[in-house]
């Protein structure tokens, strides 16, 4: 017989320390996402080169 499936449990409440940790993690994620926007912008400019301005309006 297989083992009974384990039940996921949510924490009763987040402590202020947990919340602060979560906030720092979200800030780091926001910075990474902002970095990715700059990354794709610069790479697109370089890959496309001067032709980026040469497009039908």
């Amino acid at each position: 017989m297989s083992e009974p499936r384990k039940q996921p449990v949510a924490p009763a409440a987040f402590s202020p320390e947990d919340m602060a940790r979560r906030r720092r993690r979200n800030l780091a994620l926001a910075l990474v996402l902002a970095g990715l926007v700059v990354f794709f912008f610069v790479v697109t400019l370089v890959k496309t080169g001067p032709a980026i301005l040469n497009r039908p309006l």
Binding site: Q7, P11, R25, F39
Partner: protein
Amino acid sequence: MSAAFDTRNDSVALTSTGEARDFFALLKPRVMSLVIVTALAGMATAPSSVHPVIALASLLAIAVGAGASGCLNMWYDADIDVLMTRTAKRPIPAGRVLPSEALAFGLTLSIGAVLVLGLVANILAAAMLAFTIFFYAVVYSMWLKRWTPQNIVIGGAAGAFPPMIGEAVVTGDLGLHSLVLFAIIFLWTPPHFWALALVKSADYARAGIPMMPNVAGPAATRRQIVLYSLVMAPVAVLPALMGFGGLAYLVVSVTTGLAMIALAIRVRRVTEGEAATKACYSLFAFSILYLFGLFAVLLVENGLGLMWALPKVMG
């Protein structure tokens, strides 16, 4: 053991307390730094060049891909990491990151890194990165590591691919230069890891991993460390003979290669007590410096154009 990782409990925690630094630790930053140096050397020694922004973007994708494979390795190995002193403090066994989070993080970064490298560089480089991640996360972590004492010998290929990916980024092809760099890292891996495995054999025994000292014994492992070092040191001189390493590389590769052999012989000779442990740690620590040193000199010579060229003997 933490509640987050203890799957024997009746319940499983839904949240982790992981911070950004814990997720960064999942990427094995020290391994990533070696990947960056070796991939960059692969780019620098390639016979053509690429726009610096494309090189930097590709390097970032390669580093993230390598980190993602490290993350998947930590996800899969969490059950044995918790049993070993060296790895018990990693984010998953320590309970700071949930296994499901690590799996999602590793898979997302793997797919993202391969896609970005394909878009920024070329399909060959992206395919090689995908293969490297597969080789490390699946072939090494899930299969070789728990099955054979040759685990790190064959698995070492995963760590040796970055220079080839670097060359593929620049040329869209694979050449002899990066194959030589592959061979250097491939032959360097066994003496490097076995020096540590000799000291940590009790850890590996507890976790049931068939490392060479646990299977073939310390004496056979010590003999093989010397043999691999004797083959590796001359191979590491090849870049100078093939014309993509200059005078500085020749001097550094010969002197540090001889030092590697000397330290390996010391590991072979000193087999008892604290002195034996010290000999193993010395070889392990020096081997990291050795590989960084070789590739750093190649980078300076080829990347910065500071090469005192030698006559090409072969290749």
